[in-house]
């Protein structure tokens, strides 16, 4: 979706404000939001979570903090999944008639979960279309749903720099939960191809793009 989250190249959002000796969290509630999101029964589909945050209305998205976005998306996903009702959210009390669930993640499961290595690599559906060194154009796509093809590269030509294998495809996964694996490539774009002659001649921007985003150039 062409949301405000897709902000590469936008002007007017202010200077960067680095913070000296920044702590991992700035308030206790931020810790609890992060932990609740990770332990929640709604966890498991990273693309659905990202898309839920993209669906936050644009003006709110720019105004509220990072962990507030996580909190809003968590509430929305708990409602959608039927894990809580609107009445329960309003009253902050469990419906006495509702059956009690069993937490997905127990305390003793946390440490093993943080040492387990995952992977988004899947069996390829077909041979890779592109190889390192190929010139490709990012397609001019504007899907209304989730995508990881930023607006600032659409229609631009780059070069395949690395082939990563077939990875879970977010455009499908966010909406249906199906992996729908597609080949993933690192594509390098000259900064001048993206931004014109104002960019430094030798600079470049590399993105990881799935095969359905690309055509041969």
């Amino acid at each position: 979706m062409n949301g405000v989250h897709d902000m590469g190249g936008v002007h007017g959002l202010g200077p960067v404000a680095p913070e000296t000796d920044e702590p991992p969290f700035h308030a206790d509630w931020e810790q609890r939001v992060l932990a609740m999101v990770i332990a929640s029964p709604t966890r498991g589909n990273i693309d659905a979570g990202r898309h839920q945050r993209e669906l936050i209305p644009g003006a709110d998205y720019l105004r509220i903090s990072y962990y507030e976005k996580w909190f809003e998306a968590l509430e929305a996903m708990l409602l959608q999944g039927g894990f809580v009702t609107p009445e329960e959210l309003t009253s902050a009390r469990s419906d006495p008639a509702a059956p009690k669930a069993t937490p997905r993640l127990k305390a003793q499961d946390v440490a093993p979960a943080f040492t387990r290595r995952g992977s988004y690599l899947r069996e390829p559906p077909a041979p890779a279309v592109f190889a390192v060194g190929d010139r490709v154009r990012a397609l001019n796509l504007h899907p209304a749903g989730h995508t990881r093809l930023p607006r600032y590269v659409r229609g631009r030509v780059g070069v395949i720099e690395r082939v990563h294998g077939a990875h879970v495809y977010p455009d499908t996964h966010a909406h249906t939960g199906a992996d729908d694996p597609r080949w993933l490539y690192t594509v390098r774009f000259a900064s001048r191809e993206l931004w014109g002659l104002g960019a430094a001649e030798r600079d470049s921007v590399s993105l990881d793009l799935w095969e359905p985003y690309l055509e041969r150039a």
Partner: protein
């Protein structure tokens, strides 16, 4: 920061703090989360992961040419050798090395993708609109806001983390560090150096 801060802090809890507290008690009451698991997750991010992990990877790459080769060829496996990589946001790692005349900078323009196992949670500025919007179009201007000035002839490669590949910048080893062991080298490596917003 301890949870007691909520009860004894100088400032009254904010609206969002109250909403979070209400949702947590509801989720606990309904059996959707285990409060002890929440504590363990917080403990992990406060004490188990952070840029010290990444600094050890960089120091090893500086000290051990064979490790450096493995890191540049397959960062996921090389980082796993040192015991890092589990728990998400580090499933597929790529290490990009700075060199004389070449500088790397990492961003996620679409959200906040960041290599948690080696760098911990991202700083607020990394997740902020100013950084996400401008790192790709004006990397030199962004670097100046960190006090990092690169010569005009230096090539900048920006890496926009649009998939589940996570990037770690290997900064240039500072001059005059030939006699240092790995622990002393690791102490020189900063988080911003491994994102690419600082030089060492």
């Amino acid at each position: 920061m301890s949870r007691d801060h909520d009860h004894h802090g100088q400032t009254p809890p904010s609206d969002i703090a109250l909403r979070v507290k209400a949702l947590e008690s509801l989720m606990v009451e309904k059996g959707l989360v285990d409060p002890a698991a929440l504590d363990a997750i917080v403990e992990h991010f406060e004490h188990r992961v952070g840029p010290r992990n990444g600094a050890q990877v960089v120091a090893r790459a500086w000290a051990d040419p064979a490790y450096r080769q493995r890191l540049l060829a397959d960062a996921t496996e090389a980082i796993a050798e040192l015991g890092y990589g589990g728990g998400g946001q580090g499933e597929h790692m790529v290490a990009v090395e700075n060199a004389p005349g070449l500088h790397n900078l990492v961003v996620c323009t679409l959200c906040s993708c960041y290599p948690w196992p080696v760098l911990g949670l991202p700083p607020v500025w990394y997740k902020s609109a100013p950084y996400r919007s401008r790192a790709v179009i004006d990397p030199r201007g962004v670097l100046m806001e960190f006090g990092t000035e690169l010569a005009p002839e230096v090539e900048i490669r920006v890496w926009d983390s649009t998939a589940e590949i996570r990037y770690l910048v290997v900064p240039e080893r500072p001059a005059g560090t030939e006699g240092l062991d790995e622990a002393a080298l690791a102490a020189l490596v900063t988080r911003n150096g491994m994102i690419g917003t600082a030089l060492l």
